[in-house]
């Protein structure tokens, strides 16, 4: 039974993302959502009492999917350059597959000034930054990388990668080859890190 319930929930969450991406968050109502999936509103209410519950669940997914995976990459017993490459690429791939999801959630949070959502998103950003810093520190300590730069400012620069990606998705810029993009961005970051 549990797995049927989870499947239904996944279906609802996916439809929310499709609907938001196509029509904007303002079109997200239980009625539109029910139409999109082809089930009754009552069925949705059985899984999620409110719209906000769905959005909270989506944020939780980001924590269990993206953040958990990033942490796992950062903690691996591997050379720092390998880890960093995987870290950057996984982030890009994830956001690409989720159509700029985190920024959409930020939009919701800002539009309604929802403090709870803002806090959750802040946490997601903070984790991404923290694990990035851990990998770079790992590389510096093991002597692979230079340390003649400001680490906080570098983390800031790094955090722009997911943010820009999200914005581009929402501004509906042309699609891009994310494997190539991650390779090129990795090159830029590595140039800062590598010893002369």
């Amino acid at each position: 039974m549990g797995s049927i319930r989870n499947k239904r929930k996944t279906q609802i969450k996916e439809s929310v993302l499709n609907l938001i991406f196509r029509d904007g968050i303002h079109k997200l109502s239980m009625k539109n959502l029910a139409n999109e999936i082809g089930i009754s509103e009552g069925t949705i209410y059985r899984y999620y009492p409110t719209k906000l519950n769905i959005i909270e669940d989506i944020i939780n997914d980001i924590k269990t999917e993206l953040i958990k995976k990033l942490r796992e990459i950062a903690d691996r017993n591997e050379p720092a350059p390998n880890k960093l490459k995987k870290y950057i690429c996984y982030t890009i791939e994830y956001l690409h597959s989720k159509k700029g999801l985190t920024l959409v959630l930020l939009t919701e949070a800002l539009y309604k000034n929802n403090i709870y959502l803002k806090k959750m998103l802040d946490k997601i950003y903070t984790f991404q930054k923290e694990y990035f810093i851990n990998i770079v520190l790992d590389g510096i300590i093991t002597g692979v990388w230079d340390d003649d730069f400001d680490l906080d400012v570098l983390a800031y620069l790094y955090m722009g990668i997911p943010a820009t990606l999200n914005i581009e998705t929402i501004l509906k810029s042309e699609s891009f080859d994310y494997k190539k993009r991650c390779d090129q961005l990795k090159k830029c970051i590595f140039k800062i890190l590598e010893k002369k």
Partner: protein, 209 residues
Amino acid sequence: MGKVISLSNKFIQMERKSTEIRKEEIKKAVLNIIKDSGIKAVSTKNLSKEIGLSEGAIFRHFKSKKDIISSIIDDVSNDLIEKLKSLAGEDMDPETKIYKYLCTTITYLLDNNGITILLFSEAAYNNDSEMIQKLNYIFNSQKKYFKTIIKEGIQKNIWDKSVSLEDLSILYMGIPITLNINLILNPSDFNKKDFCLKMKNLLVKILNK
């Protein structure tokens, strides 16, 4: 008779001037409301309370809420983007230019409290194509003039020509965007001191041969 006409001309001039001032006031009030309570809270009712004007008076200056926000977006284009455009065309060494370009942008965003991401959230929330287009222009212009500066440095043989222009400019665009997000999620967390200089140094490290 003549005197009456000149008086009424003077009156019209005063009216006009106050129209501009009023418009500025309204836009400022909108930004304050957005900052404190989110875009959703922007209504002519809340606005008239904030400025002490009647709702009717507000409608004389702007047709709608969308009209006000659209005008604020145009201000960003006129103020920030025009400045960046002329900066990119100035005659100075590329490294100094990057520094100024970055710092002009950061100072503007700090002065305006992450305004662009708020405008962005309005456009994205409603999926409003006209506003998305305007924001696209702001985004793409910043990227374009940044590229101009980098190209110049490569042509002058100062920087590495194997750097991917597109990807570096994407990386660059992350700086203002992250700053905007940060200003909103965590306003007290930003340390401006030396930020421009340190960030410029990172970009130059990528660009150096």
